[in-house]
Symmetry: C2
Subunit: 542 residues, 2 copies
């Protein structure tokens, strides 16, 4: 027996965008331009531009399912594309402006991008790979009066020429593609994730729930996470769904620029990777009275494990709670959040900080399990370690045109995350490591992440990472790589003494390398592969 409800009503981005056109016309969108100036608009005119864009792209000959790339910072016109492209049945393909031009050429070609909407300030990057791609139409979002290249169209002129003809956005299948994003895996070619309307909608709905971000129409969201990283964690969609005000930093991700936006726009929720928030904290600590973060109620952090010291610092020194989210491009991205359950209401502040430094419980409709290398299920006891596997409506089912991507999926249809985790009795996920970073010492696993998070709590340490390096007796041993805070000093012995009370003795790093900087990926994560190459023989050569 089937239900007799309107189960054919499709869950599409256009459904909530059209509602936003009706209900949230006056909600502000505030962006910072490349020259540092602020531009203000509201959702009403912004979404009218999205409709014009839909008409314009149709007039260029683009058809249902065609890919429209973006190469842009976070700003209001990128949002125009974000809403207009999927609503018109096309597919937004966000290109990561931090990738090498060779990778961008590969990705734009592999995705068969037919058009690209690009920031004028990023034209020099586009020039480096455009001719190696099938891109036919280059549409430039200008911020100066400099002449355009001959091959390029002016975004503003294009919109002006595209009179909306009164036709509605098309009816779409909720399973139709809405967006694409390539993951920059450390091995193999980048792989494409193709989001559906349904997956975007369900992800945005869930992330708005009170046990997650709890996003409402009185929130002001500052998405520092780039719009080319898994749809800026879905925040542009969630904001249009709930009617939240949006604040966009443009290319200015320095702490002062962000703190100014927070103060000026009364931001309530800021979202970004740990390094961004470490920068904010340092700027606040350097001059606590210079800024005003009293409007902030939540700092959403994802993309890398959040040091407990960071959570503690924001909470105790600035009264702001950090919510850790875990996920990947392949999980849209939010799959779990580290909100503290009521069962811990009586716990000490320390216990709560420790809890919040973990990756939290899976969101509704995200199923999780962890399995050993032999494939046996790991008990939810907080001790056993295994690779996290997930399943759910906003989890990737296969990569785009990628035969070798199949190895990321189990035979029974779960996605293998590559994260080594423990799962606690209440369902809380604790990432112990990336499967490629876990240190295999004498047949046992050492969590590099646990060690580096602990090291970053040492007062002399600005940044720290721990890598596996070959060692004859134990096969692999941990090596710490540390950047000191300016004006501070420490030694390997001191750091080991600092770590010893927190971990088994055999987890202690065999050595510490002090460096000026740790190389990072385009997503701001530590680039451990580069360090491993550099320090490969550190324990062998002595």
């Amino acid at each position: 027996m089937q239900g007799l409800m309107m189960d054919d009503y499709p869950l599409t981005i256009s459904a909530f965008v059209k509602r936003a056109e009706l209900l949230f016309r006056d909600r502000e969108v505030v962006s910072r331009r490349p020259d540092g100036s602020i531009v203000r608009t509201t959702l009403g005119p912004l979404l009218a531009r999205s409709r014009r864009l839909a008409v314009a792209l149709r007039s260029l000959g683009l058809q249902r399912g065609d890919r429209v790339a973006t190469l842009a910072w976070n700003h209001e016109d990128h949002l125009v594309v974000y809403y207009g492209v999927p609503c018109s049945g096309l597919v937004t393909h966000t290109l990561n402006l931090r990738l090498h031009p060779d990778d961008l050429a590969y990705i734009a070609t592999h995705a068969s991008d037919r058009a690209i909407v690009v920031d004028e300030v990023l034209l020099p990057l586009l020039e480096k790979f455009r001719e190696r791609t099938p891109i036919e139409h280059v549409i430039v979002m200008r911020t100066s009066d400099a002449p355009l290249p001959a091959y390029a169209l002016d975004f503003e002129a294009l919109l002006a020429s595209a009179e909306p003809d009164g036709t509605e956005y098309p009816e779409l299948d909720e399973r139709a593609a809405a967006g694409m994003c390539y993951t920059s895996g450390t091995t193999g070619r980048p792989k494409g994730v193709v989001y559906s309307h349904r997956s975007n909608v369900l992800h945005a709905m869930t992330e708005c729930m009170p046990n997650a971000i709890g996003l409402g129409e009185r929130d002001t969201v500052l998405a520092v996470v780039p719009m080319f990283h898994a749809n800026a964690w879905g925040l542009a969609f969630a904001s249009a769904l709930m009617g939240s005000k949006q604040v966009m930093p443009g290319p200015h991700l320095d702490a002062a620029s962000l703190l100014e936006l927070i103060r000026q726009e009364r931001v309530t929720v800021i979202a970004g990777v740990p390094t961004i928030m470490l920068g904010l904290l340092a700027a606040l600590d350097a001059n606590p009275t210079a800024w005003d973060t009293s409007s902030l109620r939540l700092i959403l952090i994802g993309g890398a494990a959040v040091p407990e010291s960071l959570i503690r610092a924001f909470s105790t020194r600035y009264g702001v709670e950090i919510l850790q989210g875990w996920g990947m491009t392949e999980t849209s991205p939010l799959a779990s959040v580290g909100s503290v359950p009521p069962s811990m209401d009586a716990a000490t502040a320390d216990e709560k900080f420790r809890y919040r430094a973990m990756q939290g419980r899976a969101l509704p409709f995200v199923d999780i399990r962890a399995r050993s290398e032999e494939g046996t299920l790991i008990a939810w006891d907080g001790v056993g370690m295994g690779e996290l596997e997930v399943r759910g409506p906003w989890v990737v089912s296969s990569y785009f045109d990628s035969p070798d991507g199949a190895q990321q999926f189990t035979n029974d249809g779960w996605f293998r995350t590559g994260d080594i985790v423990s799962i606690h009795a209440d369902g809380c996920i604790q990432i112990r490591d990336r499967s490629k970073d876990v240190i295999k010492s004498g047949g046992e696993w050492i969590s590099s992440v646990a060690l580096e998070n602990a090291l970053m709590g040492h007062p002399a340490v600005a940044e720290a990472t721990v890598i596996a390096v070959p060692e004859p007796r134990w096969s692999e041993r941990p090596l710490a790589v540390v950047v000191l805070r300016s004006g501070h000093s420490t030694t390997h012995a001191e750091l080991v003494a600092f770590l010893e009370p927190q971990f088994p003795k055999w987890w202690m790093p065999d050595a510490t390398e002090f460096v000026d900087a740790i190389p990072k990926t385009s997503a701001g994560k530590f680039l451990k592969s580069a360090l491993r190459e550099r320090f490969d023989r550190r324990l062998l050569d002595g």
Copy 2:
């Protein structure tokens, strides 16, 4: 181009119930028994009983899609059925214990109910119609040691006999039927609404959002709305989805019993019809220091228009906000909520109260429009009136086996609500009347609801309704029917003087009838049809 996400992951009740089994085992469920005593359990053991029930029903021979009726008050074992039946692929059919036995016989037969789970205290009601139905299995939730009828099974013994065999709940299609509920329309036979898993899930998700109830795992929900009314507004599902504590009143819906539960269990959200909340207010006003409502953050009211005076009284006298929800059995039920938008932050308290007395803005994915009798769209200007039509994933698409139900749907697939509304520029719905209750005077419409809500703001009035009665010159004219507060008196002339500043002169009731009580439907709504019959000739005979 299709998305490449796990779009086949079904949105089912079992998905979040299984998550609750893992994450929310310790969440309390507190119920009041018929004898007034309190019983406490938690979701862990409760959901284990749901699994046993699934095994037991299978062993009775029930198969996928079969209907299992309930005839029960709100309590923890009704929840066991609520979760266990749909998760095992069967269909919960909640019977309204306030209906006439003839109607219950018709409904249980029309739905082909194969089993019924019934409160022992409701067995006398069941006896009055059981033999006229196809019900094969009667399962009694006992609260005494009295012997059972020969045809009946003991719920507890049935569960005890059903050892879970380790088999999982079955994989279900998200469009499979999960529940049924008949609407007691005032014309024609009751009509069945068949909820799907998908519609229940999406409704529960949306109702939890911050712009709606904002339900989280630190909430304690007291659902006074019966579980046989549109799934108790989805609150049992929403609570399991979010991990909220649930408090159930059993058959004790008097103000003192409810206030005791609020005080004792620290209830944060209470949900029910206006008459229930009017009762609470009267009890609080009679003895303001006797109770403690400080834990309450929200009173969700639906089922009938909420008098502005009630919203104002709870807010100003007890610091509790009322959220008005609008919906019908056919809309799962929540379709709109009267939360005040940020654009009104600068408005006066009076303006906000007036706003909250309206039916609010449609939830995401609920499309609304209003059309005149001629079918033309009514502008969103807050003035024009038309019949509200809705569309969305949790709106009925057709009634169960009901050819004459087709008239409730438009040719282009919208559901006709029968409510006469205005829609304001910001999307706020204002119900002017039921289409059958609107007073058609001289070719113009008078809103009976507006008049009766205003009358209920008069200090001498306990309850008031306004009905259309035939009148030779204007075709219909309004007649007020009023119940006085004990110890108060007033006159028709005084009431008209009270109304005159608020409405056009031609809206004034021609007469007022003072009565001891206003007859009500089983849902607690004024039974205007009975009044119309009684006062049909009031203005003709003079």
